[in-house]
């Protein structure tokens, strides 16, 4: 934009475009200021502080004392008796519950995507557990699975099936938490269903003309066309799985024998119960690295997955 050299007024010396863009910059920053300040205060500063604190020994009310990598050494050497049990429990939980959960929810979404009556009803029912506070549903499941008086063991006994101590036994506690995780798959089911409804019908027609059946449709159209949405939800489920906190916190407090001491529960205990915030920060930095890795995978692949137009059909 060219400025008019004879234009009067205090801004005459500035080109018109610059004046405008300066004003837009001010407005832009003003409107964005909440998140700019919030990002500094609640994200950037805490991350930097976490990294710093992870090299110190610190509890609230004292000054952080620099100890180099001692916190990390304590963790990795096994001198901290909880670190490896926590990592083991978390990996066990995440690497079993996520793949199974994805398969189950995709399967349910495929069923819901058939020409059936009451789809909206089923979808609502599957989603219902998601909105219930996790602390509350943890409580309910503890009662269902109560070894002596719980209804589940009662029914199993009635059917002459083996009962279980569920949350009370070192070998069954993590499988029980995995089972519980299937109760809240509604979110993923709804997302998958929306994706499935976005697949153009003419693709299925084409298979039918070629004489393909149900399974051809599933393996040559439904699954390939959903690959990106499956991938994203898998990665997100991993990221969420690493942060499973409420269930062990309410149901088991990490027990029995630390078998359900999930990583973030261990992190919370270290920071808030034992007041070792330096060591807790080291634990959180490691979590940050793992999650950053998964996030990087998403960002890397999101460029190659261009097909992402499933807008969510209505039904």
């Amino acid at each position: 934009m060219k400025s008019n050299p004879v234009m009067p007024g205090p801004y005459a010396a500035l080109p018109k475009g610059k004046r405008k863009s300066g004003q837009e910059l001010r407005y832009g920053l003003l409107f964005a200021s909440p998140v700019l300040i919030g990002y500094l205060l609640f994200v950037l500063f805490p991350i930097v502080a976490s990294i710093y604190l992870s090299f110190t020994t610190y509890s609230v009310g004292t000054l952080p004392k620099w100890i180099g990598t001692a916190n990390y050494q304590t963790l990795f050497s096994g001198a901290d008796p909880f670190f490896y049990p926590a990592v083991t429990a978390t990996f066990y939980y995440v690497f079993v519950s996520v793949p199974l959960g994805i398969v189950i929810s995709f399967f349910m979404a495929v069923l819901l995507n058939q020409k059936i009556k009451g789809r909206a009803f089923f979808r609502g029912v599957f989603y219902l557990p998601v909105i219930i506070p996790l602390a509350a549903s943890s409580m309910v499941w503890m009662w269902l699975l109560q070894p002596d008086f719980g209804i589940v063991n009662y029914v199993l006994e009635l059917l002459h099936l083996p009962t279980s101590q569920w949350l009370g036994d070192t070998t069954s506690v993590v499988p029980t938490l995995i089972l519980f995780s299937f109760w809240t798959l509604g979110n993923t089911i709804v997302i998958f269903l929306a994706g499935l409804q976005g697949i153009p019908a003419h693709l299925y027609d084409a298979i039918e003309i070629d004489g393909g059946g149900r399974f051809h449709k599933l393996f040559y159209i439904t699954i390939p066309m959903s690959s990106s949405i499956i991938f994203f939800n898998t990665v997100i489920a991993f990221i969420n799985g690493f942060q499973a906190f409420v269930q062990p916190s309410v149901m088991t407090q990490g027990g029995p024998n630390n078998k359900s001491l999930f990583y973030v529960l261990y992190l919370f205990n270290e920071g808030f119960k034992s007041s070792r915030m330096g060591s807790a920060s080291a634990i959180s930095v490691l979590l940050f690295l793992v999650i950053a890795l998964f996030t990087a995978v998403i960002f890397f692949f999101s460029k190659s997955f261009v097909y992402y137009e499933g807008k969510g059909g209505k039904s």
Partner: protein
Amino acid sequence: MKRQSLMMKGLVYVVLVIGSLFCLFPIFWMVRTSLITMGDLYQIPPALIPKSLSWDNFKAALEAYPFARFFMNSTIITVLAVVGVLFSSSVCAYSFSRIEWKGRDKVFGFILTGLMIPFFVVMIPQYVFWNALHLTDTFAPLVAPAWFGGGVFNIFLLRQFFFSIPRELDEAAKVDGAGHFRIYGQIILPLAKQAMIVIGLLTFLANWNDYLGPLAFITSEKNYTLMQGLTLFQGSYSAQWNLMMAATTVIVIPSLIVFLIAQKHFIEGIAMTGIKG
């Protein structure tokens, strides 16, 4: 061929019904247990629906702890958070979609990195921060983030939504002498009602159901939220499952009501947001 497809359809329904029972039974059992007496609790065989039902558990549960107080605290936190998120995320999304400022998209890309930062990573420094301000054990740590951006994800969603609103509307308003405040308030916001409802609902649930936040920041009983109240209860009534389930039912009801009223928005919102976990 015809018969086979009919059988297939039957099978689909069978699986869906089993799935539904799996989802619904725990909720039914919660309500059922909340209505029975201590005597019926350990009765063998347990009746699906006991003969005598009573509301006494609710009375006992609500009197055991200041649940009214916890309810108030949860309500205050949730309302402040919802209002904060709706305001600040829409204002920010407006800046990142409707105002042309230098470096805008780079800054937005940078802020997007905050999307995946787990609360657990920032929790301890945030605690130190609020403690230095003597604001731990208040609602401030739970509510403030809502007013400062209200979550990168919400900004991202609204920004996408704002992009779909025709720019001509802004231009026309500008010709009439409207500034950014008026365009935001009188054109963009009214048109984004649908997206705002979805964000409001998700924010309500996230805050009402939040367990970790209060656990980290709130220490004295008078400031407890309902979720903390529930764990208090667990500590002292661990064997009285009928009382426990009564307390749990009370806590679940608000979420349940909101869901039943706004089910359509939830489902569409989840489908729209797509990647939210």
